[in-house]
């Protein structure tokens, strides 16, 4: 054991190998984060930063409920996006890894194309489709439905639609990678033991997909709390989320200390939510609460 420890921390070769990573983390993550934290103790006056070292910004953050209303709304939207993405992505990823193996590459290319198409373009495309005078209403009225049947543009539902649409490929690919690595013989063994298709899926496939589900959920949740375009363009800006609040604070109000504080709050709360869910899952896995 002692030898392992010596090799880990006193081996100059290992330290040299770790140096690029440590430098990268320090310069690109820890230092900017520290600067952001330091910024929160300053003030702006006449749109200029003043080095004051006080708690005025944090007092502002904790005394005004609207920051927390927007944060709560952001977390709910991100969680809803995770749930919908997972429900939609699972059958797609499962089909890709099993039933449609023959067309696997073609489907992956199609999804990748959708994935790499600019999100701004796709989001504005949805506006043209969902608009009162848009393609959806035009098609539906052609089918005899009343005019303006689709009327949810500039609502939270439209925001959610855009979020799911733009983030779904992340869920599909993480789940696909997870399902693709499942040993098929385990499922066949379940069938041999008398399990129905549904039971084999529930008791073998799904538990073995948990790492993919978890990884995809975390990824989508963290991307979801940072969405900016969808609430602005599809949501009509009338129900802002945290990223927009932070943008407004930095850009429009030129209040960098407050923007920095709101950024840190969003980061801390998001990581806390992820850790909380991770803890709950670990407790369940360990047998608590079942």
């Amino acid at each position: 054991m002692e030898q392992t420890a010596t090799r880990s921390w006193h081996d100059p070769g290992l330290l040299v190998k770790a140096l690029p990573s440590v430098l990268l983390q320090t310069t690109c993550f820890i230092a900017p984060l520290l600067m952001t934290f330091i910024l929160t103790f300053q003030r702006t006056r006449d749109f200029q930063l003043r080095w004051t070292w006080d708690l005025a910004t944090w007092t502002d953050v904790f005394s005004k409920p609207h920051y927390w209303t927007i944060l709560g709304h952001t977390l709910v939207m991100a969680a809803a996006c995770v749930a919908i993405c997972m429900v939609l992505a699972f059958p797609i990823a499962y089909g890709l890894a099993t039933r449609f193996k023959r067309f696997e590459n073609e489907i992956k290319i199609l999804i990748t194309f959708a994935f790499i198409t600019d999100a701004t373009l796709k989001t504005f495309g949805w506006v043209l489709f969902l608009d009162k005078k848009g393609a959806a209403n035009f098609l539906l009225s052609g089918l005899g439905l009343p005019p303006e049947s689709v009327a949810f543009l500039f609502t939270d539902w439209a925001t959610l639609l855009g979020m799911v649409y733009n983030l779904l490929p992340f869920a599909i690919f993480t789940l696909y990678l997870s399902i693709d690595t499942i040993d098929r013989s385990l499922i066949l063994a379940a069938y041999d033991a008398g399990a129905s298709k549904w039971r084999a899926h529930w008791e073998v496939t799904l538990p073995l997909c948990k790492p993919g589900i978890w990884a995809g959920s975390v990824l989508i949740f963290l991307l979801g709390v940072g969405v900016f375009l969808e609430p602005k363009v599809l949501g009509g800006g009338v129900s802002p989320m945290s990223a927009e609040l932070i943008r407004q604070t930095f850009e429009t109000r030129v209040n960098w200390p407050l923007g920095a504080a709101l950024t840190l709050v969003l980061m801390v709360v998001s990581v806390f939510v992820v850790l909380l869910f991770s803890r709950i899952l670990n407790m369940k896995r360990a047998g608590f609460g079942t």
Binding site: T44, D46, F47, Q48, L49, K64, H66, Y67, T69, I70, V127, D131, K132, K133, F154, D156, K232, V233, G236, G237, V238, S239, P240, L245, Q248, T249, F250, E251, T252, R253, V254, N255, W256
Partner: protein
């Protein structure tokens, strides 16, 4: 042969450095940075590039449109220079960027007037001597000739006004009558629920609403006045269908009639659509209410950065931007069309272009408007905006 800072570089780069005059001792930092950028450009574009031939480089921070080749190319040619651009998408963002250090690289800035004026006390912009610009001011509308008070800070002239327009309701005359918009009342009419568009352009939608509430936002406001602003914003959000930051979204909504009126914009929004032939889209200014003008005149201005190493060339560029020929181009861009401060440009307009720009209406708008300047309580009002928006849904 003495060793220089660049003698270890390959011969090719040494040649470029000498060609650009960067081999003088004691280079200023900004000149070095510009030279490095040019050298990188040369490396990428080849030795025959325009950059290699231009004697000087300048950086111009401006809105899109000021960088139009029809404006800049003649200047480059006449002065053997290469003007590079740092395009801004919002004035506060441009100001913040300059404060964060970009002022060392930028020579000239064209932005919204209050932000140009702020550059004076912020130590970013150079004080201009109006006498040096007498030739320019000679052809200006009287309203913009010195002393043009909104561009003066602590008795110092900070910039020269370039382009202007008015803020007021933007409407489609096919679905609503302009006479209805002689007041902002339709914004609050329950019959217009989900038919009002608000521009998400910082203070632009807040200031007209404050004026409608009887508050002059350009004066120092007390808590009671701010409470009135809160009430009017709360009422506005009740009818708001969308808050957009993008011009095209608002223009599309006005054109297809899904939006009755757009608040927080004005001639800047409507003119480009009018240029495309949609003369039914227009920007109007409400009538004064209880003696308080309800419209707002916005002005863009140009200033020279204090840290420029080419003050004479920067001054030349400023004069070029407000010249008659540049003014014509600047006032009739594809993205937006707005009148300019140089009166001589008016002679160049066709009747059709005058109609696009609502030239016949502009002095009516001027007479019924406040001049946009620094609103002392703008941060309080923006904070109220955020609070009320969060509570609106």
């Amino acid at each position: 042969m003495s060793k220089t800072w660049y003698s270890d570089l390959p011969q090719y780069y040494q040649k470029q450095i000498r060609a650009m005059g960067l081999d003088e001792a004691g280079l200023q930092r900004r000149r070095f940075m510009k030279g490095a950028a040019a050298a990188a450009g040369v490396a990428m574009l080849g030795a025959n590039s325009q950059q290699a031939r231009a004697a000087t480089q300048m950086t111009y921070m401006c809105w899109e449109g000021y960088n139009d080749p029809r404006i800049i190319d003649p200047f480059n040619k006449a002065n053997d220079t290469e003007v590079g651009f740092d395009l801004i998408v919002d004035s506060p963002g441009g100001f913040a960027k300059l404060q964060a250090g970009a002022s060392r690289e930028v020579d000239l800035v064209s932005s919204d007037m209050p932000w140009i004026t702020r550059m004076g006390p912020a130590g970013l912009a150079m004080e201009l001597n109006p006498d040096d610009y007498a030739d320019v001011y000679a052809s200006f509308y009287d309203q913009f000739k010195p002393p043009f008070e909104p561009l003066i800070s602590d008795g110092k002239t900070i910039g020269v006004a370039t382009r202007w327009g008015w803020v007021g309701p933007c409407v489609n005359t096919d679905v609503t009558k302009p006479e209805v918009w002689k007041t902002y009342d339709p914004v609050f009419d329950p019959a217009n629920k989900d038919k009002i568009c608000v521009m998400d352009w910082g203070d632009w939608p807040i200031l007209p609403m404050a004026l409608h509430a009887g508050i002059n936002p350009y004066e120092e406001l007390d808590q009671a006045a701010l409470e009135e602003v809160r009430k009017v914003l709360r009422a506005m959000f009740k009818n708001t269908r969308t808050i957009v930051g993008d011009l095209t979204q608002a223009q599309k909504g006005l054109l297809d009639g899904s939006l009755l009126g757009c608040i927080g914009a004005g001639s800047y929004l409507t003119s480009a659509v009018r240029k495309q032939g949609h003369k039914n889209i227009m920007a109007v200014v409400p009538d004064p209410k209880n003696g308080l003008n309800q419209g707002i005149i916005w002005v863009e201005a140009t200033a020279i950065l204090k840290e420029t190493d080419q003050p004479e060339l920067a001054q030349k560029l400023l004069k070029h931007v407000v010249s008659k020929d540049s003014g014509k181009v600047l006032s009739l861009l594809d993205s937006t069309c707005n009148v300019v401060t140089n009166k001589a440009v008016e002679e160049l307009y066709t009747p059709e272009e005058k109609d696009i720009l609502q030239v016949d209406y502009m002095w009516h708008a001027w007479d019924n408007s406040q001049m946009h300047r620094i609103a002392p309580n703008i941060d309080d009002m923006l904070s109220i905006w955020q609070e009320e928006l969060a509570a609106a849904k």
